[in-house]
């Protein structure tokens, strides 16, 4: 479904690469957790998959179609199938929560509807349902600049949910949520995975959430894949080694700091 072949990306010439020869194949319906210390290249990797970053070297393919070097039209078709939850949410500040969620439907609608903001009833209902699912049913008409950080993050999750493309890339989708709400949101994403086979690639800072909700763990460090293993086979010692720490003496789970 998603194939990365020898991806190397440098934001600036002469600097160490953000991604350094990453090769990864992600199958349909997988739940992949992307772990790694801050600055490891998780966001860059996710941005390469949707073509927001064009890697300096290597090939990205999505459902067999090349993303690198795709024409603008092909890129649009690919992006339509990938819902993205951005690390910094990237909401449209003056719009309401509902208005922001409806942005997720843009790729499916004719241009005149997008420009006039006239959405079919089915799309409005879909967006309202998604807001209710992330616990924001009452905030639908509130401008997002008046929402809290965690509420804004959930609006971004709802926007990716209504896109319905079969793939969701989440860049730390629960970073601003309390533990209970974080589990609720991850549960919601996994439900889409179970019911509709949605492929999930989630970068996370909390290894224990990754182990609980994902079936495959990929750890990046300094732009390289240092661990790629099914979640049930991953031991705390593996994670500590992947993060570049010594194995914790106590062997307690979740030892690597976020």
């Amino acid at each position: 479904m998603i194939e990365l072949e020898g991806i190397t990306h440098r934001y600036r010439e002469g600097q160490p690469p953000a991604l350094d020869g990453v090769s990864l194949v992600i199958g349909a319906g997988e739940r992949v957790a992307l772990l790694g210390p801050s600055g490891a290249g998780k966001s860059t990797l996710l941005r390469c998959i949707t073509g927001l970053v064009r890697p300096t070297q290597g090939v990205v393919r999505f459902r067999g179609r090349p993303v690198t070097g795709a024409s603008p039209g092909e890129l649009r078709a690919i992006r339509k199938e990938i819902g993205v939850i951005f690390q910094e949410y990237h909401l449209i500040e003056p719009y309401t929560a509902l208005g922001n969620v409806l942005v997720g439907r843009f790729g499916h609608l004719p241009l005149w509807r997008v420009l006039l903001g006239l959405f079919p009833r089915a799309d409005r209902e879909l967006a309202r349902r998604a807001l209710a699912q992330v616990g924001l049913a009452d905030q639908a008409q509130v401008p997002v600049r008046r929402l809290s950080g965690g509420q804004r993050q959930r609006v971004a999750v709802a926007r990716a949910l209504v896109q319905g493309g079969g793939v969701i890339l989440g860049d730390e989708p629960v970073s601003n949520l309390d533990p209970a709400t974080a589990r609720m949101v991850l549960e919601l994403l996994c439900e889409g995975n179970r019911r509709e086979g949605t492929t999930l690639v989630l970068s996370l800072h909390a290894p224990e959430l990754a182990l609980e909700f994902c079936d495959r763990i990929v750890v990046l460090r300094a732009g390289r894949v240092v661990l790629d293993r099914p979640a049930r086979e991953v031991t705390p010692g593996d994670l500590a080694a992947a993060y570049g720490l010594r194995a914790p003496a106590s062997g307690a789970p979740g030892a690597p700091p976020g």
Binding site: T50, L52, P72, R76, A77, I78, R79, K80, E81, I82, V84, F86, E88, Y89, H90, L91, I92, E93, P94, Y95, V103, G104, R105, F106, G107, H108, L111, V114, L115, R159, Q163
Partner: protein, 251 residues
């Protein structure tokens, strides 16, 4: 200035004195030569002011506002698509360069020169005033508005882009919602400037209160000129107040 040596200060003072001497020489600015009797007869001619022209003055003030308003609006309507084309990163570079060049040309020519050109071409005062304001301001607004789009945060644009939407949607939903207050603030500031400019354009014949002032001057009706001048004063104060009000609303 601070921290300079006495020697450098002396050189500076010498340069200043030389500049004053040279400027007085080329301009013939010599108070001893002033003919104060002309000033006395001019001031005497202004009083008492002839208030019978007040209705005409008010009508012409309205015309000046109308010229400024239509000139600004026309400039904005033209600058809206042009500024999108001029903004870096939205359209191919050669289009942007072309539009930015044309806009620089438009604003390099002062309104008064545009007005003279249009007066020669159309021989119609008000229309020349409107077109002159539009021609100069389309250059200014294109540049200012393009700079607003370039400063717009990239995040919302990426969010719209990553849904598979095209460039029109990115501009409309990713850039404009953030830009709108800034665009309006520029627009109203230009309107405020244009009210003042429109009075000056009248002096060369492009309609409005300035035109009336020129007419009364050529007829040596100084008592009426005084009323015209008061009208211009009121107009400028009004536009200042309006601008302050709008800026408080927008920002």
């Amino acid at each position: 200035m601070y921290g300079t040596t006495p020697g450098r200060r002396l050189v500076l003072a010498g340069a200043l004195a030389a500049a004053i001497a040279w400027s007085v020489w080329v301009t013939g600015f010599e108070p001893s030569q002033w003919d104060l009797s002309a000033v006395r007869s001019f001031v005497a001619g202004m009083f008492p002011p002839d208030w019978t022209v007040l209705p005409t003055v008010i009508a012409e003030m309205g015309e000046t506002i109308g010229i400024a308003f239509l000139g600004t609006l026309l400039a904005f309507v033209l600058a809206f698509p042009l500024s999108l084309a001029a903004a870096r990163g939205l359209f191919p570079d050669w289009i942007g360069g072309l539009v930015r060049g044309a806009a620089a040309f438009c604003r390099a020519i002062p309104e008064i020169l545009w007005a003279l050109l249009f007066l020669v071409a159309t021989d119609l005062g008000n229309i020349s005033g409107i077109l002159a304001l539009a021609a100069h301001n389309v250059g200014i607004l294109t540049k200012l508005m393009a700079e607003v789009y370039e400063a717009a945060p990239a995040g919302p644009q990426e969010a719209v882009l990553s849904t598979g939407a095209g460039r029109a949607a990115v501009i409309w939903h990713g850039i404009l919602p953030w830009s709108l207050p800034h665009l309006f603030s520029h627009l109203f500031f230009r309107f405020e400037c244009n009210i003042r400019t429109a009075t000056v354009l009248g002096l060369v014949g492009a309609g409005g209160i300035g035109h009336l002032l020129m007419l009364h001057r050529s007829l040596l009706q100084y008592d009426r000129m005084l009323v015209d001048t008061l009208g211009i004063l009121v107009l400028v104060l009004l536009s200042d107040a309006l601008g302050a009000l709008v800026r408080r609303q927008v920002t």
